[in-house]
């Protein structure tokens, strides 16, 4: 096909005047584009460009009516796409490369729409593409957008099976929605009853896309999260909420430091530390938390949560450092009810050889900071001071020595890889929680005090929505713990020393709002807040009812239905029973429908039967008018009412305004009159 053969694009004839094939193809392309749209921002530019380009090319071919390219061209493009995928991701396997390839494949398949089989391939690829969006987000807007996609795909499928004439898109869309609506009860039933099981095999991990806390602390990694306004967890306190500064959700505890990166203690192996003990003091705080999937092998729980209820499909373990580890990354949304004891004491209380590891610092790193710490420890007022006095002195230094809190401190360690913390502590003095926590721990260790970093979430939105306090990714925080003989592990939040706001009110660090929200915010701040509140309430319901629906909720439902100590076998049995009942109901309906086939005929039978009872040799095939004549002849004046009714039936059935179905009332009246006659 040479460009000179035809105009590059014909004049747009209007949607109504397009040939049917062209219209159907353009509609399918639009549906595919809509389905692919959310991925375009996530995937590499070449993939987005290739997908969009292919779809536009196909649209042009449809408009011009040009032949489709040969298979060789398609194979070449596919090879290029595979090569680019390998180049971008380092592999063609895995989630992200898979999605990228799926997109290109789907777009290319539109260039191969020859037989019905090709069309089906497109539809099935489309359903996969819809599913891939849920890997990234299962929010309400995504769900609504993808419902549109599924509707569009079903409509295109229906169109492909209407070979006659030029059915309107609306007709096909109606059929598609009717089909989906008829299927909705099955969907609800299966969704509620289908036994939820854990992952069947290892889920390929994709740390690149993982959001939330990470499994290590590296300079700058928390800054990215701090600007992420998504919800990390929701928490509800049935007995009243504590102050925000008490809300420390402990994630991973990082005690291994290699100079650049903090990592959690890999394991408690070979055995839990003997002195590790937890004493629970003070009032208990009951809470219920809904955790978004972290894709990390621990659960951020309130300090200190001594026990967790059993979670289905996930085994949890409280480690010595009070963090809650899981046997696998948490990929599902979890709802957990637990009790926390904010006034806890975490041992060991006596010196323990295991603590020695927590005083260790990597040799050669941050020499200036270590020198500063040595000098600091020799200050006369700290001579013989215990750990808490030393910590207080360091915090006082942070407050008074001109440190400032910022989300964009720039990169540390660029000039001197060994002195990132030197640069922060002594030169630039600007940073956020992880800089402060990390420098504080290094200083404490340099002073000979065992110390470690705790990551997690701190604070919550001030106003609860729907009774739930929202904790966002921007509430991600890092703080420190040091050990003191007799007191055990003591929390110290050096960030509070420099930005008390951040900690005490649990204020999130708000990024600049978007243009629309900004404009709305200046016009009516209250309206914006209300809209936001409303949206978050809806979103919360969505999360609680749809996304959070798991094995636990299924078993709760069974229990409410009266099954004692239900198991998943009960669930499967109930599902099978419900499907069986549905099948029986369908069979019954079919039997009834068969009888319903010709309602007029059934009425004729009933009329003939009623008339025979009064001695009239009536046949069902006789017209009501002739029956009326027979009645008049036989019963004379007494039969006038019945005859009148029969003549009325004649009009109802054959008259000018004939009715589609017999009316029930008429037959009842006839029977009454016939009985009077008899």
């Amino acid at each position: 096909m040479r460009a000179g053969d035809r105009p590059f694009l014909p004049r747009w004839p209007g949607w109504q005047h397009l040939p049917r094939d062209t219209r159907d193809t353009l509609f399918l392309l639009a549906v595919i584009a809509w389905t692919a749209l959310p991925h375009l921002l996530r995937l590499p530019a070449w993939c987005a460009a290739m997908t969009a380009g292919t779809l536009l090319w196909r649209a042009r071919l449809a408009l011009v009516g040009a032949p489709l390219p040969g298979r060789r061209v398609l194979a070449a493009v596919l090879l290029v796409a595979a090569a680019l995928t390998q180049w971008s991701f380092g592999s063609v396997l895995g989630r992200e490369p898979g999605v990228a390839l799926l997109m290109v494949l789907m777009a290319l398949k539109t260039l191969e729409l020859r037989a019905r089989r090709d069309a089906f391939v497109i539809f099935f690829l489309g359903f996969f593409l819809v599913l891939t969006h849920f890997l990234y987000s299962q929010s309400l807007p995504v769900a609504v957008a993808m419902l549109g996609s599924v509707w569009g795909l079903l409509t295109a499928l229906v169109l492909a099976h209407m070979p006659v004439g030029r059915p309107s898109l609306r007709t096909a869309a109606d059929v598609a929605s009717r089909t989906a609506l008829l299927g909705a009860p099955v969907m609800v039933l299966l969704f509620v009853m289908f036994p939820r099981v854990g992952p069947l095999w290892g889920v390929p991990q994709d740390t690149r896309a993982a959001t939330g806390l990470s499994d290590s602390l590296y300079m700058g990694s928390v800054a990215e999260i701090a600007q992420d306004d998504r919800i990390a967890l929701r928490v509800r306190f049935p007995d009243g909420a504590p102050r925000p500064e008490a809300l420390y959700f402990r994630g991973a505890v990082m005690s291994r430091f290699d100079g650049n990166e903090w990592k959690p203690q890999s394991t408690d192996f070979p055995a839990p530390q003997p002195g590790a003990e937890l004493r629970l003091d003070g009032p208990a705080l009951r809470y219920e938390v809904t955790l978004e999937p972290t894709r990390l092998p621990w659960l951020p729980m309130l300090d200190a949560t001594p026990e967790l209820p059993a979670i289905d499909g996930l085994s949890t373990r409280r480690r010595d450092d009070l963090s809650w580890a899981t046997n696998r990354p948490v990929t599902e949304r979890l709802r957990i009810a637990a009790t926390a004891y904010p006034g806890y004491v975490l041992g060991p209380l006596e010196p323990d050889p295991a603590l020695q590891a927590l005083r260790r610092l990597p040799p050669g790193f941050n020499p200036r900071l270590l020198a500063w710490a040595g000098e600091f420890g020799r200050r006369p007022d700290l001579a013989g001071a215990d750990a808490s006095r030393q910590a207080a002195a360091v915090l006082a230094h942070i407050r008074t020595a001109g440190y400032s809190y910022t989300l964009a401190p720039g990169l540390y360690g660029d000039t001197d890889p060994l002195g990132a913390l030197d640069e922060f502590w002594l030169d630039r003095k600007r940073g956020f929680c992880e800089h402060f926590a990390s420098a504080f721990v290094v200083v404490m260790r340099a002073l000979g005090v065992p110390a470690r970093i705790v990551t997690g979430y701190q604070g919550a939105d001030p106003d609860p929505v729907d009774g739930y306090h929202l904790v966002r990714q921007s509430n991600a925080h890092a703080w420190a713990e040091y050990w003191q003989e007799g007191r055990g592990w003591v929390r110290a939040d050096p960030t509070a020393a420099v930005a008390p706001d951040r900690v005490e009110r649990g204020n999130r660090l708000l990024p600049p709002p978007g243009a629309l929200a900004g404009a709305l915010g200046t016009v009516s701040p209250r309206l914006l807040a209300q809209l936001r509140g409303l949206w978050e309430a809806v979103d919360n319901r969505w999360n609680q009812w749809v996304l959070n629906y798991a094995r636990g909720q299924q078993l709760d439902l069974l229990e409410r239905l009266g099954v004692h100590s239900p198991s998943w076998q009960d669930l499967a049995r109930l599902l099978a029973g419900a499907i069986g009942a549905l099948g029986l109901a369908g069979a019954a309906w079919a039997a009834w429908d068969r009888r319903r086939q010709d309602p007029w005929r059934r009425q004729s039978l009933a009329v003939a039967k009623a008339l025979r009872r009064v001695g009239l040799p009536a046949h069902p095939h006789e017209a009501p008018r002739s029956l009326a004549a027979q009645v008049r002849q036989r019963h004379g004046h007494a039969g006038a009412a019945v005859a009148g009714l029969l003549e009325e039936l004649d009009l109802r059935r054959y008259g000018r305004h004939a009715e589609a179905r017999p009316s029930r009332g008429w037959l009842a009246r006839l029977r009454r009159e016939v009985r009077r006659l008899g």
């Binding site: 089906f120 599913l131 989906a180 909705a184």
Partner: protein, 341 residues
């Protein structure tokens, strides 16, 4: 046409059964489909099975379900179950598209052997029913032929035409008609088998290329010459095929147009002298040919003579149709040829 009764498509698995069992099954199968010209499709005579695409859809659902389980995607479950529900609903909708339909076959017109008989089938739903889309019809004998598609609007009739090549002359039984639909999603194929009771009168195959018409004979024509044509003085005009030697004035140009278009000859004016000329199409004139080919030639002659508007009579062993012309006469001749012996 005994072959047509076995042509009712049996379930494919039946072919693997041993003989006696298969015959019993076949008898049962035929018993289910008694021939009639009107058929109401009900639960009993509409069959449904998943298509290849339906099986592919099932496999897709399994993969979607596995992905949802493995990634713990509740929305994935929703998607999978929504599609599963739609698939199940589409099964009922596919079945509903056929169920309740009434089929009616108009008496089919006669046709020549080797040509396609055109069956006019009227489809209608019950009163107050809904519109039905994408119903395809074909004869069971030509499996690879394209389906004749039709939609049945709500509360109205629809027409569909299917063609069926009739192999041999005589009263031809119609092979069963297959009615199928995949609407709305193409995951299931519902079909029904209908054995029409009507038979088609099949005229002999037309000889091709047709032999020239025999000459009309003035006196040699044996048998009673019963000219029906009223005579008007001596000016009676007749028509006959162009013969060499006819002057250009004798040719009826206007009347020649049709036969010429049909590949025939010019038509000449047959003046009063031709009144005695009678065109007899005789079995004996085709001596040397096997009987069926003779019939073919005679049929072609009848058609040609009729096209030229010439009076013609037909003589077969045991049958003699006096010369005449016009539609009823032509039909009478062809019928005689179709049903001869």
């Amino acid at each position: 046409m005994s072959a047509s009764s076995t042509a009712v498509p049996m379930p494919r698995a039946a072919a693997a059964l041993p003989g006696p069992l298969r015959r019993r099954l076949q008898a049962w199968w035929l018993g289910r489909h008694t021939p009639s010209d009107t058929l109401l499709l009900t639960q009993r005579n509409v069959y449904i099975l998943p298509t290849r695409a339906g099986l592919m859809f099932g496999a897709t659902l399994v993969v979607l379900l596995l992905a949802s389980i493995n990634y713990q995607l509740n929305l994935g479950y929703v998607l999978t179950f929504l599609l599963a529900g739609s698939g199940i609903a589409s099964m009922h909708l596919t079945h509903n598209t056929l169920r309740g339909l009434t089929l009616h076959l108009r008496p089919p017109p006669p046709v020549h052997a080797g040509a396609a008989a055109r069956l006019d089938i009227a489809l209608s739903g019950p009163p107050g029913g809904r519109a039905r889309h994408g119903i395809g019809l074909r004869m069971s004998t030509n499996a690879d032929s394209a389906l004749a598609w039709t939609d049945v609007p709500a509360g109205a009739h629809a027409q569909a035409q299917v063609g069926c090549v009739m192999p041999a002359r005589g009263w031809g039984e119609l092979p069963p008609v297959i009615l199928e639909t995949r609407f709305p999603l193409g995951l299931f194929r519902a079909w029904s088998v209908w054995r029409p009771a009507s038979r088609v009168l099949v005229y002999p195959r037309l000889e091709f290329p047709a032999a020239p018409l025999p000459a009309a004979h003035a006196s040699a024509a044996p048998g009673p010459a019963q000219r029906q044509r009223p005579e008007q003085g001596g000016e009676t005009e007749g028509l006959r095929a162009y013969r060499r030697g006819d002057s250009l004035k004798q040719v009826l140009w206007k009347k020649s147009a049709r036969p010429l278009a049909a590949g025939g000859d010019l038509v000449s004016r047959d003046t009063a002298t031709a009144v005695q000329h009678e065109l007899w199409l005789d079995w004996q004139q085709c001596a040397g040919l096997p009987p069926e080919e003779r019939l073919s030639r005679l049929a072609a002659w009848v058609v040609a003579a009729d096209g030229q508007g010439a009076d013609h009579g037909l003589r077969l062993p045991g049958v003699e149709i006096p010369p005449s012309q016009g539609d009823p006469h032509r039909r009478r001749c062809l019928e005689a040829l179709a049903l001869w012996q």
